[in-house]
């Protein structure tokens, strides 16, 4: 969790929730494992990571696999990730047929956070509503 110091010298830091909004341009320049590391490092720091343009299915698969290897049940308390994107983004037109039709773009805006801190309240094609809790 990010700490924000006060103007008078920072003796009593206030706690906030850091949100990293990562542009599609920045993600485009990264290899798969670099993207996954960027996401998971943020989540390990208790940040909420918002991707302007989501991951490809293969990258999602590796993100799940990598997430599982980093859960240590009696370790640092990391229990995995919560991930949400608009319905129809992944697995919709981005599957085999989508690529056949020339649509090779990743899915839509994606929100990722620590599983024990983020809870989805509502999701539809136009709105993702999440509750982010402090530790």
């Amino acid at each position: 969790m990010a700490e924000v110091t006060t103007d008078d010298g920072g003796e009593t830091p206030t706690e906030g929730i850091q949100i990293d909004m990562i542009s599609a341009d920045r993600m485009d320049g990264l290899r798969t494992m670099e993207k996954i590391r960027l996401i998971l490092d943020g989540v390990h720091d208790d940040n909420i990571v918002i991707l302007e343009s989501g991951l490809q299915p293969e990258e999602e698969s590796k993100l799940i696999e990598r997430t599982m290897t980093e859960i240590n049940p009696d370790g640092d308390g990391f229990t995995g990730i919560e991930i949400e994107s608009y319905p129809g983004g992944s697995g919709g037109d981005n599957g085999f047929l989508g690529r056949l039709m020339g649509n090779d773009e990743p899915n839509t805006l994606t929100v990722i956070g620590p599983a024990d801190r983020i809870e989805t309240l509502h999701k539809d094609e136009t709105l993702i509503s999440t509750l982010v809790t402090r530790q």
Partner: protein, 213 residues
């Protein structure tokens, strides 16, 4: 959607028909935890080989390793199709050992189960990318199918160009809604069934032979 769906379906079936004879196809049974994957794998294995694949339980993540039942020969309409059934751990993006404590499991055992569950999910993802020739995606028809894990998993399966059948399980329960499942994944065929009660298994085997034969 209709033409595109038909085209996609045709391509999927063409892909499936490209399988060469000889080696049995490995059909992965995927889905979220507690959808009834092992119950289905056991039903198929018992019906055609007499043996089970693994233990079933209402406790999530009971299956923590992918298990394979080899050479399951399914006979339909005078023909036979031989498949290897791969029962996989339920896929999730999170595992918290405290969930197991709610099922009267001691902490030490819960931690061990959690560790094995995470390894199992990672293993299942690896199988999906490398080692299966087709997928049966099992959903609990009493639950909301519009989850991120389901959307991601079906997207991943599609990206691998694997033939896939969606099974809407637990239709013996009053709350089951097959329509809700088929609405969630209209691009794929949805087959209703109760793996526990053995309901609609004739259609299940017809579709397995059609898609994976």
């Amino acid at each position: 959607m209709g033409i595109l769906t038909d085209l996609r379906s045709s391509i999927s079936r063409a892909t499936s028909s490209l399988f060469t004879g000889g080696e049995p196809k490995r059909i992965g049974i995927y889905g979220p935890p507690n959808a009834g994957k092992t119950t289905l794998a056991n039903r198929i294995a018992r019906d055609w080989t007499g043996d089970a694949v693994g233990p079933e339980s209402h406790v999530p993540h009971e299956t923590r390793r992918a298990r394979r039942k080899e050479n399951v020969e399914i006979k339909r309409n005078g023909k036979s199709v031989t498949i290897d059934v791969v029962d996989t751990p339920g896929v999730t993006t999170k595992v918290d050992y405290k969930e197991f404590l709610e099922h009267d499991i001691e902490k030490e055992d819960a931690v061990r189960r959690s560790r094995e569950a995470t390894e199992g999910v990672a293993e299942a993802m690896h199988w999906l990318r490398e080692d299966v020739d087709g997928v049966i995606y099992v959903l609990d028809a009493t639950e909301d199918p519009f989850t991120q894990v389901n959307t991601m998993l079906v997207g991943i399966i599609e990206s691998q160009d694997l033939p896939v059948l969606i099974f809407a399980n637990k239709i013996d329960l009053d709350e089951a809604s097959v329509q809700r499942v088929s609405n969630a994944f209209p691009q794929h065929e949805t087959v209703p069934l109760s793996a526990l009660e053995g309901d609609n298994m004739d259609e299940v085997y017809d579709k397995i032979a059609e898609y994976f034969g």
